[in-house]
Symmetry: D2
Subunit: 401 residues, 4 copies
């Protein structure tokens, strides 16, 4: 079978994943605005493993189900239907993207030492790239954390910020400026000179781990801590970012579907001016626009996943476009669901306001949408310029045009 695997098996897995989320995960969700307990998470993960729905994206040899990226979207959406679903199923950021990166560029030893435990859910990980202003953020080239070669190893100095999941992570993938560009390092928690600092509290609450400052002060690591090859950090970052952006789209699209379902249930049960809410045109306009946003997001994700599997450059271009569209569409869908639910929509009686808190940051994370728009426009201008030049060349050569 080709890239999407056996369709029958994929359908079965999707059905089982949906049932697991519906019957096991949703009943275990924490109250809106509160955080899932770590022990409870572990209990749910055991159930997920038993149900055969854990780690759909990881290689079979590392305990996963081995789906290719083109088959992830429906499964990740099913997981994301609960804000704690991706974490329970072991496909939450940043672990999911880190595992992907380790699989793509890690040495066999690194895969054994880091990907294995990560895949089995024995440790959590963090990806330490973003820095306090004026360091790396929407502009990765502004990287200021440095690593210099010393004594057959490396010394890392600098400060990272907004590092999701840092608190409690077993290891960090650290991006640092090196002599010829940037290099990624695998740094174990507890390494002297590595310190997890102040946690930045955001609008997200469903999953523990926070977004912390991480400090590197004369932090020494061995030569084997280099992930893949030295000085390839900026390239590797793109390897990670394309798929990572897209899996964010998938997971949060699941939460958008949940929001719409909550609103549809309300529109079914509520009466106003003598009609059911679902039969009032102004409510139908909100519902229809959310369906359209969801389907367009779904289609863009599918199109981008296919590209990522076959043409990385086109995949990167589309992942940028999908990120912008999906992140904005998802926030709109949650916002419309709030509106459809009236006063309950902004109350703790429904989880919708807390869902807003979960999804709103995505318009900023992974590169602010404005930065992506800038890149999208530049790529479009360059592509057009190249096409015009090629036409001109063809015309000059053959006089055809």
């Amino acid at each position: 079978m080709s890239a999407t695997g056996d369709p029958q098996q994929a359908d079965d897995l999707l059905e089982r994943t949906r049932a697991f989320i519906r019957d096991t995960v949703i009943p275990a969700e924490p109250a809106p605005g509160t955080t899932l307990d770590a022990q409870e998470l572990e209990r749910l993960r055991e159930l997920a493993r038993a149900a055969g729905v854990y780690a759909p994206h990881l290689p079979v040899e590392y305990g996963g189900i081995g789906l290719p990226i083109t088959a992830w979207s429906p499964i990740f959406q099913a997981a994301g239907y609960s804000p704690i679903g991706p974490s329970v199923l072991g496909c939450m950021a940043p672990d999911e993207g880190n595992a992907h990166l380790l699989e793509k560029i890690g040495t066999p030893g690194q895969k054994h030492d880091y990907l294995g435990p990560l895949a089995r859910g024995e440790v959590r990980s963090a990806f330490a790239m973003t820095e306090p202003h004026p360091g790396a953020g929407s502009d990765p080239e502004a990287l200021r954390t440095t690593a210099v070669e010393v004594d057959g190893g490396w010394r890392i100095d600098g400060e990272k910020r907004y590092i999701s999941g840092a608190e409690g992570a077993g290891f960090f993938i650290v991006m640092a400026r090196t002599e010829h560009g940037a290099t990624m390092f695998l740094v174990d928690a507890g390494t002297p000179g590595l310190r997890v600092g102040r946690d930045i509290r955001t609008t997200e609450h469903a999953i523990a781990g926070g977004h912390s400052h991480v400090h590197f002060d004369d932090c020494r690591v061995g030569a084997d801590a280099v992930l893949g090859e030295p000085h390839e950090g900026f390239r590797y970052a793109q390897v990670r970012l394309g798929p990572a952006r897209l899996t964010h789209c998938m997971r949060w699209l699941g939460l958008a579907r949940r929001s719409l379902d909550i609103a549809l249930d309300r529109a079914e049960s509520r009466e106003l001016f003598g009609s059911r809410l679902r039969d009032l045109g102004l409510a139908q306009a909100l519902i229809a626009d959310s369906v359209i946003d969801i389907e367009a997001s779904d289609a863009l994700i599918a199109s981008c996943a296919t590209a990522l599997a076959t043409d990385p450059r086109e995949g990167a271009r589309l992942s940028s476009i999908a990120k912008v569209f999906c992140s904005e569409a998802i926030v709109r869908v949650v916002d419309r669901a709030i509106q459809l639910c009236g006063g309950d929509g902004v109350s703790d009686d429904l989880p919708l306001a807390s869902y807003w808190g979960e999804v709103r940051p995505f318009r900023i994370y992974d590169g602010a949408n404005e930065t992506h728009r800038w890149a999208i426009a530049r790529r479009a201008s360059s592509a057009r310029r190249r096409a015009m030049a090629a036409d001109a060349d063809a015309a000059a050569a053959g006089g055809a045009a």
Copy 2:
């Protein structure tokens, strides 16, 4: 002087209000997502009275400054620049609207007993109209709470919900169905049969009081508890709602201005891709759109306030339009400010996400915007129909057209 009072005095008051908010109120704001302490509120109110900026909208005889409605907007915006400002200045909902209603339709005795203490900040009040589904909500005609005449007084039965400020209120203005329509009652806290129930927690946190269920079970009040005249409740509701909607617009527009200022400060200090954020076109687009939203809101409010002062019917029409436009514009401005501030925008390091929580409900409160749109469209259709009929009549009469 005419309706707007002495311009010089108005400018002075505005300047003093701004200074008071900047120098006294903002430094006392609670942390984002937390609530102002009651004692601290009282301390700040004392300072506001001392500074001569308390109760700008109330009649002088009740301790206020006596501004006409056409002069409220800049002052209320200055107050709303802090989420606790309107409460400190005694011009917060629901007290502000209740005071306005008492002034317009209360008997002298009711003004003495209720408006006086309210104006002096000795008690808080609540407005009990909204009911659990399928009662009064976006459709006030669905009112189910009843009042029947008994023993020279009235017996009230029913359930209210989402009653802002109910917890701790000294009295309630209660809307109940009576034989010939609806009637408003003044019911003191502590009246047997009146019980404040479960508090609904929402995305708003700055000001205490919550949004509670209020139960009326065989609640007996005297004949003098009728506010104004019996059976005039639906009409009185409109007297209250037009200005109340508009003062919401004013206050929250102040918070939108605060949000834009926070974003402008960030755009000034932050560098990206070698430029200040404020010089990047994609940031400028966000800033300009927020300026436009703010100015259009400001102009609509001014236009509506003038109408409310001179032509109540046109005032009601415009207050509906202003409510929809401003509530959506304000949420957009806060959302863009979050976006301009990047990761900090969704963190507790800045108050912007909590501002979103303060302003988002306004698209739902005071009649969901969809309900207003429905009413706006119906009014437009009727007005056009009448105009065409008048033209036809004129033509039939004179043959002119």
Copy 3:
């Protein structure tokens, strides 16, 4: 090979189609706002046949290239890159949809007599469904044209309106109410009782044929004029409409791409405030939003085409969603291109304003977008209701949920 045919052949065809449009069709385009001459159209079609790019969607046995629907989109977009392209390549509405319908439900004789000449470009055709108010329009069930059985044939009476391509059509597919629903008829031009009336001039000008009134007065046709089976008209209309909506999306998305390219060329050559237009953030925002609109449209079309090929019910649902999204996205892209080109954008020096005239009607044709939104919302509500009922049944049966 599966449904998409040989990818290499498909790529070749796409490349040849693009080259033909660029080198042959675009240089022959009429001036903005004017109409392609009929003789010139025939000349261009001859060239298209010679270049092997004519009728990509029609069966090989009828002289086409035989692409399956899942492979149409890039080709139709390439054709639509010129407003006259689809007509030159023989894949313009309404002929394209009529050919599709004949292929699906025509008898062998009907295919020979009607599909053959149509495929060879010897005749044009029209689809006569829409009626003057209060007949069939956005609501097809309001159909008022009737057909009754007489003398072994049928008598058709009624009035159609907005019938694209009626002027000069060789035959009409006519929808009429019959005893048990609706029936489609093949009616030759020139049949007594059929009269093409007043042409409705619209904002479209590129292609001749207009949108005419068509009158049926005691119009007699034989029993063999029934297309497919009698009384299946409403079902057949859906067979035609799903793909027809989607091919509209494809063709006009091509024109959106053309508009963006025109704007990109301008942004490349124009300087403002010391920068190239393409480097100004506010222009980049317009460009990026258009790229996103185009890619989301492209992805939705691909997703819908796959569904139409495998699951007609899901295909119909998605074609409605794609129609709404694409028609609005395409108008936005043309509008932004106008804006990027400044004063030239609204002048005849550029074709953009005339492109607006070509694409704007699509938000109305094939069912106004508001009607589709209404249907989309209703389908979403029903689907959710069914899902909840199924869950409840499962829970009742097994106690699992």
Copy 4:
């Protein structure tokens, strides 16, 4: 009486203007997409003068009605309710703005020679500022046409473009670069060296005069041709542009009202799915959004007119904001009217598509909206910077903050 004149007289004038437009102008409108005949225009102007509704904005001494700018909006909107109304009433661009400029900065002799005939409708005029790329356009500082002092007069050389009303104008106000900035000149049609070239056809058709290229080749004018003072051209341009932008808003807002009325009439008469169109929620959403757009535009215009009358700097700021908001709102209103009218909306049976052609250029004319957004954002940033500096100074001085 103060700035707005006698309210009763203003109401009378408004009523008379509306009646004149309804009873005299609308019946004389040319067919959609065609242009009003010059003789017919003159006939209508005579009637306007007779009805006492001609030139509401011009000083009484020049034959106008003498309304202050704060009273123009309702009258100009009433005029703009017909696309030919402003021209009939003598308050169309560019004459209206040119008259305003002559009144503000012309010498007595210039007023006599140019403002008089212009006010009496004896001549038309043009304003020659915009140039072919890379000259003055959205960036006026890029001005390339030059004027040098020669023989006690001036020699003008350069090329203008997109000069509205140039064909047939009696005189031109020409902006040229001079030694110390820019200077405005009054140049009579027929002056040797002045040539009106190619007309640029745009989407506007209602009024004759076109948008032409104008060439100056060794064009000699006397010293008295300098409008106002030499080298003040850039400042004068702002004097003209603020009000000129705002009167555009007024006039086209009138056409937006007309569009909505056409749509309301349709929504009244049309039935769909068993309801009147006006009672369907999805139509009501379109209607309500248009009412909101119209009222917000109206309020912004009023607010800006007040500022222009009292605080030119604030007036300029608000005119930029009003221009962006109103031009986009007006296009939206026309677009929604098209949508509400279905197939008729894009046909010549209704004038709506031609109205789109009249209003769409306004998002580009008078500075593209993107240029205004850039300026609006910059002003907001500077204002905030100044405010923060003032606060800091105050704090440093008194320690108060």
